[in-house]
């Protein structure tokens, strides 16, 4: 039977070639869109490493010099003044709050291993762990006991610990941002390991992250406040908060945002980014559907004698039905196999290693195949039904 089907496909190769090319194209397009989807949904389900509900961010916007160098007194004033408010549970200073899109990236290495690793580094204070609820895997968060140490205390994420120290215990080890033999290197002592702190939000890639303790010797001023408020705090708490901040320093401009809203905005932007490819893919898919429909219709029309003959020698209408559908499914499969021969190069060569590994390749290819098969079957139903209804007498009279 299969041989017979292949023969009849081969007979109409000219017609089939065009529609196969269309199917190949749409398969590749859908595959691409699905890869993007799979990649992002995996990122989305990774550990975020902090909580965002009931947390507010205040950014300082000013051209004053007060913030360009550490100012423990000012920090203390802010902390005390805000903690006095009944709605506020805890207050912390960080260099970049969650859902920000600015970052510092630098090369760091362990003092014992020479390998440099590109790392996102953020400065944060002792209270940030409890304020953002950053889960610590081993060791501890930095605290007052690190004050006065010769190296700045650091907390790194699990990925960086693995890359920098392999299977060794990273706690108590030193890391540095300078090359061997450079003058005046900076050293950081690792006191804890966290799961992660993906402060760009859910779609941040798999990065190495280090948090350094903010203290009187660190040089990064902290211009972001993270405030944890009591659940159920009304939105217009912002007015009260603003007044309170102005009481501390009247000459600083404050930009207040709610992390919930910032996150929604980020998700909305992501959705906007995905809209055009999805739109284009669906349009092409519909067009290929129409095309397939037209081709199948012609196909059935020009094969009336053949179908009549098959009916006359005893094929049931169901058999005709399945012949038409099987032929088309076979044709789609061939187009997809050709496409996969090309696509399989991607995980092999690792060109898009950042977005795709073998498992997501198979998943995406599987989903794209499902879509194409569904389309193929839906489009063949009506023409196949027409063919199966043909009465053998009419068909044979066709000449």
């Amino acid at each position: 039977m299969l041989k017979h089907l292949l023969k009849s496909l081969w007979k109409r190769k000219g017609k089939n070639l065009m529609i196969s090319a269309e199917i190949l194209l749409i398969f590749v397009v859908i595959f691409g869109v699905v890869v993007g989807f799979v990649h992002n949904s995996r990122l989305y389900h990774q550990t975020r490493g902090f909580d965002y509900e009931d947390r507010w961010r205040v950014s300082f916007e000013t051209e004053l010099d007060v913030l360009s160098k550490p100012n423990p007194q000012l920090v203390e004033n802010f902390r005390r003044s805000l903690q006095a408010m009944p709605e506020v549970e805890s207050v912390s200073f960080v260099q970049f709050g969650p859902y920000s899109n600015s970052a510092f990236v630098g090369d760091f290495r362990g003092t014992e291993s020479g390998q440099k690793l590109s790392t996102y580094f953020v400065t944060a204070d002792d209270a940030s762990q409890s304020t953002l609820k950053i889960p610590v895997v081993s060791g501890r968060w930095f605290s007052q006991q690190d004050e006065g140490a010769s190296e700045t205390a650091a907390v790194i994420n699990r990925r960086l610990a693995k890359k920098m120290f392999g299977d060794e215990d990273p706690l108590g080890k030193l890391m540095t941002n300078s090359d061997m033999g450079q003058k005046d290197p900076k050293f950081y002592r690792i006191v804890g390991v966290i799961e992660d702190y993906r402060y760009f939000g859910e779609f941040m890639g798999y990065e190495n992250i280090a948090l350094f303790r903010h203290s009187s010797i660190s040089e990064n001023p902290l211009t972001n406040l993270i405030i944890k408020v009591k659940p159920g705090t009304p939105r217009n708490f912002e007015i009260k908060l603003h007044q309170q901040l102005k009481l501390v320093r009247n000459d600083i401009e404050y930009d207040i945002s709610v992390l919930d809203e910032t996150r929604d905005e980020m998700l909305r932007q992501k959705a906007t980014f995905f809209a055009p490819p999805i739109f284009i893919a669906s349009f092409l898919l519909l067009m290929v559907c129409f095309g397939l429909f037209g081709v199948l219709w012609q196909n059935v029309n020009s094969r009336i004698p053949e179908i009549g003959l098959r009916r006359a020698v005893g094929a049931s209408s169901l058999q005709i039905y399945s012949q038409i559908i099987t032929e088309q499914v076979l044709l789609s499969s061939m187009a997809m196999v050709v496409a996969l021969v090309f696509l399989v190069q991607l995980p092999f060569t690792g060109i898009f290693a950042k977005f795709m590994d073998w498992s997501s390749f198979f998943l995406s290819a599987g989903i794209a195949m499902m879509v194409i098969y569904a389309m193929t079957i839906v489009c063949s139903l009506y023409p196949a039904w027409m063919a199966s209804r043909m009465s053998p007498t009419d068909a044979l009279h066709y000449e």
Partner: protein, 411 residues
């Protein structure tokens, strides 16, 4: 004759409703997409509404300075606009507009976030905002540094409801402003709450002494023909900016862009070339539109060839009675274009619905997109092209059927 063709077409199309439907769906879908794209492009780049002078306005957003091993690109400083851009002879009007600053306004127990821009009185001459109440600030207000603001309707409604906003006081960034005017920016329509204040009320008073800052310059040429000369002039003057540290910064650069240039630059690899690549971008858009039509057109060719079989008897009879090939080609083309035009009408309605929906969701920063006369005209042209492209091959093949075979029904 045409009446006969149409009657015939009607009969043929009603014979196989399912396929006619698919045919139509194919046409409608393609046209809706093309029309929506056209409408968006027209909205973004053609002079209309607030941007009534769009065809002769260029903006300079970045001041780039290049040193030996570093390049710095910033906004323009007020001093730079005053010294190098205002004196340009072919610029009829020059305005300095700061980039929008996100500010929060605290009214009694409400918080409203909005975009604030600092600018001058010329701004109101270049952009035609419709004044709904009060007045716009004048050159005099800017010189005196009066704390006045103009709001757009979006934010005026939010802050003061249906009551009059004029004369109300607003506290923005610890600075007390008085509302003097409310404008409607429906045509520009970002839908965002916006307000404008004289640049002399900016918090830092030394903004006038710097070549770098947060400003963009908007220059209006005397006519649309002089836009290119104006662009060249800006570029030329940009080369001769005197930096405080000429040893460190050896080259300086200013680029003036029309709205479409700015769009085209988004795709160009060289952000520092004088040519924005606008022509290539336009070319690409047309090519893409054509490619976009290709797949549906191929489908229609297939569908139409499918009808051949059914109509072979009709073709045979007409040929036997002496109809020429050309005659038949004409008939089939008329049929196809007619169907396309029906599709076009449906597509226009749908496009309108789609655009209204897009405005409604606020997915794209554009309000009041809609189908107007020029879109209608574009749509008509696109449709006829599409109808002919998709009809000519099947028509030709059908018309060339051998009448002997055709009459036997053996296509």
């Amino acid at each position: 004759m045409l009446k006969n063709y149409l009657l015939m077409a009607n009969k043929v199309y009603l014979r196989r409703k399912m396929f006619t439907l698919i045919n139509l769906a194919c046409i409608v879908l393609t046209l809706v997409v093309l029309l929506a794209v056209t409408a968006m492009m027209e909205h973004s780049f053609a002079p209309s509404g607030v941007d009534v002078n769009r065809d002769r306005v260029v903006t300079v957003n970045h001041y780039t300075k290049m040193g030996k091993d570093m390049t710095m690109s910033t906004g323009l400083g007020y001093k730079l606009i005053e010294l190098y851009l205002r004196p340009i002879p072919n610029a009829e009007k020059v305005s300095a507009v700061s980039r929008p600053i996100q500010v929060a306004v605290y009214q009694e127990d409400r918080v409203e976030k909005l975009n604030m821009r600092f600018t001058d009185a010329v701004f109101w001459e270049i952009y035609q905002y419709r004044l709904l109440a009060g007045r716009l600030f004048q050159a005099d207000d800017v010189e005196q540094g009066r704390s006045v603001v103009v709001l757009n309707q979006v934010i005026a409604k939010k802050l003061f409801g249906e009551g009059s906003a004029i004369g109300q006081k607003l506290n923005v960034r610890s600075h007390q402003y008085e509302v003097i005017g409310v404008v409607d920016d429906g045509q520009k329509g970002t839908g965002n709450p916006e307000m404008w204040a004289p640049h002399s009320t900016m918090p830092s008073s030394n903004y006038k002494d710097s070549l770098v800052g947060d400003f963009s310059a908007v220059l209006m040429a005397k006519s649309s023909k002089e836009v290119n000369a104006l662009k060249r002039e800006v570029h030329e003057r940009g080369k001769h900016i005197v930096e405080e540290d000429p040893a460190k910064w050896t080259k300086t650069l200013l680029l003036a862009n029309t709205e479409f240039d700015a769009f085209a630059r988004g795709f160009s690899s060289d952000s520092r070339s004088e040519d924005s690549g606008a022509e290539q971008a336009m070319g690409w858009i047309i090519v893409l539109m054509f490619l976009f039509m290709l797949l549906p057109a191929l489908n229609l060719v297939n569908l139409n060839l499918g009808r051949m079989k059914e109509r072979s008897a009709e073709i045979g009879v007409r040929k036997a009675f002496g109809a020429s090939t050309f005659e038949l080609v004409k008939q089939f083309l008329v049929e196809n274009v007619m169907l396309s035009l029906v599709g076009c009408l449906i597509a226009l309605l749908l496009t309108h619905g789609l655009l209204v929906w897009i405005n409604h969701t606020g997915f794209l920063p554009s309000l009041n997109l809609g189908v107007n006369l020029s879109i209608f005209a574009y749509g008509f042209v696109i449709t006829v092209v599409f109808g002919i492209v998709s009809g000519v091959v099947p028509a030709w093949r059908m018309a060339r059927l051998d009448p002997v075979f055709a009459l036997k029904g053996n296509a």
